[in-house]
Symmetry: C2
Subunit: 329 residues, 2 copies
């Protein structure tokens, strides 16, 4: 019989609700505690999900001896601080993306994980999703020829401008890059690896936060990627992959519905779709517990090196686009 892992939820906001809803469906996960700086939010979440212990601080959650794995869902700006606190208490951590605000902080997080011999993984769902795994399989099979160009994007338009809101606040790592742009960046890294050159251009608010952003990655031999993110387009996420013999498009309607379509000359389009169970955030939790069962402190699908590469690239994009987080690069 598989071990049941005891989870704690740190910062019970919107994203934690989505994750917990899926986590509850896994029979080897038990949610034993939740921690918020606000006691009533914690209690409300505990009642909603039937969680036994509701703490009014993150520290109480981190020091609860019952808790084995903590899902960190606070704003990007606090990921490093919270994950490090949990890991220093010997807890394994699944930490929401972006892992932190800059590469220096990400490296520190890895060091703390190693020092404490605990598991740490960035909660980045893409590499676990069937559309991306199938797309990679198709590209690697060579049936579409060499990958020449990738266009990745993520836009939503449901956040009215609020200078204090998380999305627009530089103190909280606001801006489209860390919230959604990094999905497009991840697409390029996932299919093409590290670019040899980066350029970027952003529309910045008066507080220096990017509301729309374009990025271009140059690879050897004339291979390119164009990437885009914005708080002002209702496009959702997507990725078009242009190859020598055809084009592959990945789209999704919400996180639980994914579609992949390939088109090559002279043939009918081929479509693949995945729904619900196959696509969601619980794939991250499944991976965490699989690694823990096997005694691994790092995922092979979303390893340290991938988070390192992602944040290194994000740092470079920020430098080119003039995006800064006060006191943190």
């Amino acid at each position: 019989m598989k071990k049941t892992w005891k989870w704690g939820i740190l910062a019970p906001g919107k994203i934690a609700r989505k994750f917990t809803t899926e986590l509850q469906t896994l029979d080897n996960a038990e949610i034993v505690a939740v921690g918020s700086r606000n006691e009533s939010r914690s209690a409300e979440f505990a009642a909603e999900f039937g969680v036994e212990k509701a703490y009014g601080s993150y520290e109480e959650l981190a020091t609860d001896p019952d808790v084995e794995v903590i899902y960190v869902a606070s704003p990007h700006s606090h990921h490093a601080e919270h994950a490090i606190m949990c890991m220093n208490q010997g807890k394994h951590v699944l930490c929401e993306k972006a892992l932190s605000l800059n590469l220096k902080e990400v490296i520190e997080m890895f060091e703390v994980a190693r020092k404490n011999n605990v598991f740490l993984m960035e909660a980045f769902v893409t590499p676990f999703q069937p559309s991306y795994r199938k797309a990679k399989e198709i590209i690697e099979s060579g049936e579409l020829g060499k990958l020449q160009y990738l266009h990745g994007w993520f836009g939503f338009n449901s956040a009215p401008y609020d200078p204090q809101g998380r999305l627009f606040n530089p103190e909280l790592g606001g801006g489209s890059l860390l919230d959604i742009g990094l999905y497009a960046v991840f697409d390029a890294l996932w299919f093409l690896g590290s670019p040899k050159d980066i350029s970027a251009s952003a529309a910045l608010t008066e507080r220096g936060i990017d509301t729309s952003l374009t990025m271009r990655f140059d690879y050897p031999e004339g291979v390119f990627a164009s990437l885009y993110s914005s708080f002002y387009t209702a496009s959702g996420p997507g990725c078009d992959i242009f190859c020598e013999k055809g084009v592959l498009r990945i789209t999704r309607r919400g996180i639980l519905h994914q579609q992949l379509e390939t088109r090559s000359r002279g043939t009918d389009p081929v479509r693949y779709t995945w729904e619900g169970d196959e696509c969601g955030m619980k794939l991250e939790a499944v991976e965490v517990m699989k690694c823990l069962d096997e005694g691994k402190m790092e995922s092979e699908v979303m390893p340290y090196s991938r988070s390192f590469e992602l944040m290194k690239t994000l740092d470079s994009i920020r430098e080119h686009a003039g995006i800064h987080y006060p006191g943190r690069g």
Copy 2:
């Protein structure tokens, strides 16, 4: 009864065959002569299309008093020379895109047209095509909100590398930019106008010709366009338009089949399709003869100003991407 216009075809190659096939279906067009530097190619074309006069030089075609309108279909590198020769003989001219190799030459072509009081239009089919006209109508209606981002592309992969071939020869204005990239550039100009900033990156052959090319246009208020062209991707042409409330995609399977699809949140996609007669190159000829019937020396749909703006933009892209045509910028 409408006047029947007497056409001559200059340079009877592949593109002229496509055009002539469609021109023949118009009841107010008569194809009276064809001119090639190669007499047997001319004779072959005349036999194929039932054209009375086949000349072994462009000069004979340009000076034939029967001919009223000449379609110039030679390589880009010779458009200016040939169009100017025809216009100086008092002929109206429909000249294939790219109109020439640089802005200076394009300006000279306009000046010659004005001086001789003849009609001149760049044979650029996009603004006549129903998908682009419908797309513009939808954007201007405001139903999708403000246009925020445009991704335009054109790729084909059917030209094996041949340093002497037209596509790869800098002396002939080779490279993806003038052959297909300008369609993507036109898309951005058509929907967004002139950018305030341009950046570009190209893969160049040893002779300095771009086989793949990415371009980024920056517009005010965080609006961007990413554009791509390549001789190494089997993508065909397309354009995605990202707006505040949804996304609009224009695609085509060959020049005679066009599709437009709009997607906005919470509604089913809306699709429009057009086939054959509605889409082809003959739309250009229809416009030419309509203007001539009305005594106009310039098209309002594809006016001088549009060709001027397009070539000015192409010059700027070349400067950023390091693409040069020997002796011509």
